[in-house]
């Protein structure tokens, strides 16, 4: 069977970084970046990845997009590629990325490799969803999504691993982005757009020597059971997004939304996928606990993907009623970085700073720091 890789570069990704612009989404900004002397960074990063792939896989068919969206880079490395689609060579936009990704899916590639940042990841997600596995070469300014390899070389290794090994683990990983306008104004409004399927980087899979520690799933069940056993009937529970928190509802036999806020009281669902207004209407001044899990690889507990849990909501619940749950592996994967918060209100962020007893298993706690 022919191995087929889709390869897409967002050539303007990452240009804003060095000239102090936070991202390059939008034509004006690209012009501004160029006028400030910004140079394209994504193509060079992508070439590192590509070279490694070339040297380590035989018989791989690479589908790419014209010009500096992949075609040129392949040529420079002496790689024969199949070019699909057309672009305006002078001025590529996010629509080109979306179109490219769509074509790749249609051509039945096994894996899509792209170079870019969060904006690019979002575009890819719009076209691909969970239909084809994806891995990102980190080349953007913003990279809050968990779909990127740790560096371009490792992206190459993941691709090689994907095609050469039969049992590569695929994980659902977050696609996140923040509003650049607001970001440039110093405010971060991040959103969780969804999950893409990403081959897991083997180097960071912790070694389970002869059945060493419990698997993630057993930890998750332990966490969920412990939280369920300790639920009090006079509290309203707000459960944030993510597979960790939703394990609780799954084990309670309740319906849930993976990306939304679900509200529970007395073992019953009050609302699924509640927005801020609905949350505030329900909790009013009632005793409320918020159950959340940090975003994998990033560590955000508020302000990324759960904006519905707004400063007002947090204030009603109170810091002491924030319950953070996480598998030990998820904490280890943060690589010693603290949890982060970014609610948009500095005093709330400051209030949330400090140490939390994170539930990591049944009746098992690690103390973890949160900064802003």
């Amino acid at each position: 069977m022919i191995k087929r890789l889709g390869f897409i570069i967002n050539p303007i990704a990452g240009m804003g970084g060095k000239v102090g612009l936070k991202g390059t989404d939008g034509e004006e900004i690209v012009k501004k970046a160029l006028s400030l002397g910004a140079k394209k960074v994504a193509p060079n990063k992508a070439k590192i990845t590509l070279k490694y792939i070339k040297d380590n896989i035989d018989g791989l068919e690479i589908l790419t997009y014209p010009g500096d969206m992949g075609e040129e880079e392949c040529k420079e490395l002496g790689i024969t590629s199949i070019v699909v689609g057309n672009i305006n060579m002078e001025n590529t936009t996010y629509l080109d990325t979306e179109e490219a990704a769509l074509r790749m899916v249609e051509k039945k590639v096994d894996l899509i490799l792209f170079a870019g940042g969060d904006g690019t990841a979002r575009n890819i997600y719009t076209s691909v969803g969970d239909r084809v596995p994806v891995i990102g070469i980190p080349a953007g300014v913003k990279m809050h999504s968990a779909v990127f390899a740790t560096n371009p070389l490792n992206a190459g290794k993941i691709v090689v691993d994907f095609f050469n090994n039969t049992n590569v683990e695929i994980r659902e990983s977050e696609v996140m982005d923040i509003d650049e306008e607001q970001f440039r104004a110093g405010r971060v409004v991040a959103k969780l757009y969804g999950y893409m399927n990403v081959p897991y980087e083997q180097a960071y899979v912790q070694s389970l020597k002869a059945g060493g520690i419990y698997s993630d799933n057993i930890c998750l069940e332990g966490i969920a059971d412990y939280v369920i056993e300790n639920m009090e009937s006079d509290y309203i529970y707000l459960l944030g997004p993510g597979t960790t928190t939703k394990k609780i509802l799954e084990r309670m036999g309740l319906p849930y939304t993976l990306l939304g806020i679900d509200i529970v009281k007395d073992g019953e669902i009050l609302v699924n996928d509640a927005n801020e207004t609905e949350i505030l209407e329900i909790v009013e001044d009632k005793k409320t606990k918020i159950i959340i899990t940090p975003i994998g690889g990033q560590g955000y507990i508020f302000g990324r993907g759960n904006q519905q849990l707004s400063p007002k909501v947090i204030k009603v619940a109170g810091k002491e009623n924030i319950v953070i749950i996480s598998t030990p592996n998820k904490l280890i994967d943060l690589k010693r970085r603290p949890f982060l918060v970014d609610t948009g209100e500095e005093d709330i962020d400051r209030m949330l700073e400090g140490y939390y007893k994170v539930i990591v298993g049944y009746d098992e706690t690690y103390v973890y720091k949160c900064s802003y």
Binding site: Q202, Q206, S207, G212, K369
Partner: protein
């Protein structure tokens, strides 16, 4: 002296030895029991009629029947397929202090004046062994600065349990037994510091290292101490070999909150004469006499966790305590506040006797020499590994010297070559090394490797050790499959064992194996 120690062309003994039951030949005997005197038989009558019928065993146990030379040969072969400390450069099993156990001490332990002592003999006939216990206590008191010791716990873990028992008794006596139900420990402390207090009924809170230091911050500790805090169980240095310089402040914070502080000094090898439990302010501690104090590890015991406490806790120690009335030594059982027994009799006194001999053979200067050489050896090995071996790193406190051991990471090697720490571990056996200790879970350090080159290894051996890992790293970059399919020169080849997670798959007895296989 050159570092170019030649690597060995090693092959471990490979006997393909059958399971003992497969050697059975009906009728053979390994040893005989003397026939009962006729006079006794005449007097007692037929014993088969005396054994109560409803509890008489009618069928013999299905043990193998093997003559003496074959039993000896079988177990000698198994011994040859085992890499004891005495026959290899056993630097790998870090946290365990695999040091030389002086052979002369084995002679003492196997002398009938010790081995044939019954623990309940009249004290008049055990003055020698009581003197050893009493004097060893005195030595450990000085070494630690603690005020009283017991040797009853049968290992380090049981000593931690015994400390947790004393902690509970202390708070209960003060009327705070129910309220103070939380134990604080660090995630890098030996897991028993979480497990033993939990077994005693405490809730456990784990602190985790922050930033690049390798230890938790004071703010982190402050955020969890409260009126519920019963105490802190902590190891310092932890397996990283980084001495936590905030330890005194941490102890003070716990004390101010009304908790007690318990040190796990299972591995004291970097601390002799350098830093004592007393000066840190600990209330209790324990030493593993089978680690830093030279008693052999015995294929995982028997061993001794020497438990030491401050004066105000001494009344809780397990019974009995050895005392001296000025003329003779005696066992004091009259201790109403004691937590009782944690092990039968007085503990593994063989380990105490060996520890006594070991301390007496080197003295105060020698003890400090032990620690200084351990630290020197360790930093020498670290320098060689970090500068000469590709793919290895030592996370936390980078650039700083370490105490007696280091937790390294093969993360880079795995990233570069796909060869991980498990592969390296299996491969090092091919060069005549015992495998190495990776880490206690959770693996905060990815692809971990924790060697401990204590004072009983020579520079030449440490160089050989470093050269082996240099070689294995080269192999990983050049021919990763060679490393991934190791061992090639060990007693058995690679077993593709996915860890058993289902009890239905467990086979711990031959009878179960035979049943599963449908064998008779």
């Amino acid at each position: 002296m050159s570092k170019d120690v030649k690597l060995r062309d090693f092959h471990q003994a490979k006997w393909d030895e059958p399971i003992i039951f497969e050697l059975s030949i009906p009728g053979q005997r390994g040893i005989l029991i003397p026939e009962v005197d006729d006079e006794i038989k005449d007097r007692v009558g037929n014993i088969n009629e005396i054994v109560p019928r409803n509890i008489k065993r009618d069928k013999r146990p299905v043990l193998p029947e093997i003559a003496q030379p074959q039993v000896l040969r079988h177990f000698l072969r198994l011994s040859q397929e085992t890499l004891g400390q005495e026959i290899n450069i056993d630097i790998g099993l870090g946290t365990c202090t695999m040091k030389y156990s002086p052979k002369i001490n084995e002679q003492f332990v196997r002398h009938h004046k010790f081995s044939e002592l019954h623990p309940l003999q009249d004290e008049e006939t055990t003055q020698g062994v009581l003197e050893i216990i009493y004097k060893t206590e005195a030595l450990l008191k000085e070494i630690s600065g603690m005020d009283a010791f017991t040797f009853q716990p049968g290992g380090g873990a049981q000593a931690v349990y015994s400390n947790a028992s004393i902690l509970k008794a202390y708070h209960t006596d003060r009327g705070e037994g129910k309220q103070r139900n939380e134990i604080i420990t660090t995630v890098l402390s030996h897991p028993v510091n979480a497990a033993a207090p939990h077994t005693k009924g405490f809730k456990v809170i784990n602190l985790i290292p922050e930033g690049d230091t390798g230890y938790p911050s004071l703010e982190q500790l402050k955020s969890v101490v409260s009126e519920k805090t019963a105490g802190m169980f902590i190891t310092n240095p932890e397996d990283t070999g980084i001495f936590n310089p905030l330890i005194k402040e941490m102890v003070d914070i716990v004390h101010e909150a009304g908790g007690l502080c318990v040190a796990d000094i299972a591995d004291a090898n970097g601390l002799f004469g350098i830093s004592r439990a007393k000066e840190v302010g600990y209330d209790m501690c324990h030493y593993n006499l089978h680690k830093a104090f030279s008693s052999p590890h015995g294929s995982m015991g028997p061993c001794c966790g020497a438990q030491g406490v401050k004066d105000f806790l001494a009344k809780y120690l397990p019974v009995p305590i050895v005392k001296n009335d000025g003329e003779k030594y005696y066992l004091d059982y009259n201790r109403p506040d004691s937590i009782g027994k944690v092990r039968k009799f007085y503990g593994v006194i063989a380990a105490v006797l060996r520890a006594y001999c070991w301390i007496m053979a080197i003295g105060a200067d020698g003890l400090k020499e032990v620690s200084e050489l351990s630290i020197l050896n360790n930093n020498y090995l670290m320098k060689r590994l970090l500068t000469e071996v590709k793919g290895i790193s030592a996370p936390w406190s980078e650039g700083q010297f370490r105490m007696e051991q280091v937790r390294y990471s093969w993360e880079k090697l795995k990233e570069d070559t796909g060869v991980g720490t498990e592969d390296v571990e299996r491969r090092c056996i091919d060069y005549g090394l015992q495998e190495f200790y990776q880490s206690h879970p959770p693996y905060l350090v990815p692809e971990p490797f924790t060697p401990e080159p204590n004072e009983t290894y020579s520079k030449m051996e440490i160089d050989e050790y470093a050269n082996i890992f240099k070689k294995i790293s080269e192999e990983a970059y050049e021919n990763p499959e060679l490393v991934k399919t190791a061992p090639h020169n060990a007693s058995i080849s690679l077993i593709h064992q996915s860890a058993i997670t289902d009890p239905e798959d467990l086979i711990v007895t031959w009878r179960v194996y035979k049943r599963r296989k449908g064998l008779k």
